[in-house]
Symmetry: C2
Subunit: 318 residues, 2 copies
């Protein structure tokens, strides 16, 4: 009989869990070609407008396979319901048996995305981060900072947002966790003072331009996951010494790398893949003067890894 785990159980276990290593392993397996991820299944609804996406896949010779269902119904907000819903289903790869239903309501997608930001910083941030800059004061902007905690020993933070209310909430939320948080509406306040920058916004017009980016800056751009969204001026990727994709094939179709290639300032051969960067030291930063960009668009292997980590932690104290 399959186990069923609800959101409060997942939230409880995730506090004790460090998903960063699981996500790292997933990226390495992905870049080694050991992950099978068929095209995403999609259902589109018109009245009211909504969509559901089915992502599924497995690591070859692993114990499990995963199916994740996520939906977005933006008119839910009017009804007092969250716009996003979702769950993950973990199956035995050797027998097909359903192992576990994770009723995470989309929470684990947020966690695995934040954990990927921490992986990017672990391998690509300069040795001494003196200030962290976060674009986006929403859920992901908060989680990115939270998951950097175990990787980056810096408590000086500046956050950029679109209204004072969300910025105040961000500050109120993060300062009790030991951070000193400044808030701003000016992108340059971040570019001119931070050497680790995370962009976590849904913007379609670039937040930063190339002139603002100083030597020794690392940027993790994780807001753009469609062909339309765009957080960084393509010239930033042109200026960067190292440009990293979570998935090269996916980043050729969406995200910052897609924008830079479309603009003609970046070539496919210049891109390296995050799983290879983790595995090969010579692909990592060779000096603290370099500018690096990691473009995160979200890969199904992250879902596979986070679901397994939660399941094992709950049932095997693993």
């Amino acid at each position: 009989m399959a186990k069923i785990i609800n959101l409060s159980q997942i939230r409880e276990v995730i506090e004790k869990l460090d998903p960063i290593m699981a996500i790292e392993e997933g990226f390495v397996a992905y870049s080694k070609g050991r992950v099978v991820v068929p095209p995403v299944g999609e259902l589109i609804f018109n009245d009211p407008p909504g969509d559901a996406h089915i992502k599924y896949g497995y690591i070859i010779n692993d114990d499990y396979y995963l199916i994740k269902i996520a939906s977005g119904f933006y008119e839910n907000v009017k009804k007092g319901l969250p716009p996003n819903a979702g769950l993950m289903l973990l199956f035995n790869q050797k027998t097909g048996e359903l192992v576990c239903i994770l009723l995470d309501e989309g929470f684990l997608t947020n966690v695995r995305t934040a954990a990927a930001g921490a992986v990017a910083a672990k391998y690509m941030a300069p040795k001494m981060v003196h200030r962290i800059g976060i674009f986006g004061a929403g859920t992901q902007g908060k989680l990115q900072l939270e998951y950097l905690n175990s990787i980056i020993n810096c408590k000086d933070v500046i956050v950029w947002g679109v209204n004072q209310e969300e910025l105040d909430a961000y500050k109120a939320n993060m300062e009790p966790r030991g951070y000193v948080v400044e808030t701003t509406f000016e992108a340059n306040d971040i570019a001119s003072t931070c050497n680790l920058i995370v962009t976590a916004t849904p913007t379609k017009t670039a937040l930063l331009n190339a002139d603002q980016i100083r030597k020794g800056t690392h940027i993790t751009a994780m807001g753009s996951d469609t062909p339309e969204k765009n957080e960084l001026d393509p010239a930033i990727l042109q200026k960067a010494d190292i440009v990293i994709a979570d998935s090269i094939s996916q980043c050729l179709e969406r995200g910052e790398i897609y924008q830079a290639i479309k603009a003609g300032v970046l070539k496919k051969q210049q891109i390296v893949e995050l799983g290879n960067v983790i595995a090969q030291k010579d692909l990592q930063r060779s000096s603290d003067e370099q500018i690096s960009v990691v473009d995160l668009t979200g890969v199904a292997v992250q879902d596979i890894q986070i679901a397994k980590a939660v399941y094992k932690s709950i049932f095997f104290n693993f």
Copy 2:
């Protein structure tokens, strides 16, 4: 919070439920173009060999959408496990919320397939069925007869199988339900005495040829759901007065109709779709002398309808 229904609850409610009307409505909606069913998602495993299929879809403006997961791992039998596993997930089409998880382990797929056989007989069997012939003494061979019970008032049955043991088991299983069951290894014993024939086998070589089929015979062929499987000599479809597909687009790619078209003895324009036959009296049998064939390959709308029927019956006594 989503409801979770396990197999024993499903078995209990299905006894009280008549899914035939639900399946009929589904076929009509399908033939009217009101059903959205994207291509099936597939995962293939090599060690041990296995596969998982993800079928999903919805009826436009209905209350729900469905995702069904089914797997086959044939080496499970060696481990004392069933080879097939599966579940269905019912979601709210207006909000994306997960409504119900049906842990049916593939059982509802068997039921919806048997119910489709009953729908075929309801609209296409001759007025007076004097004997029912079943090819295949397995689970589906039994269920087909069970679901004919409410539609066809005939208790005289002959069943064809591949070994005496399964035939004896079939007889022992069905006679206490009021049937008189003869068993045979000779296809012609069925063709020469029955005017309602159901084929429910996985054979790749035809069970029946055209010369054997007498006037006034109806055949429901439901065993073939791949391009390779084939239960009826293509000449039977050539000889038939009416040839019906559960889904024309699907039957052009698999099943008996696919075989007959490939053999050059049937044209696409000669095929009618089951949902249209249900809705339009002029497409149904016009005399008891006609030969008719219904080719069932399995359509996702059947899954949608059976899942909804079980859910509503359990939670709304509907």
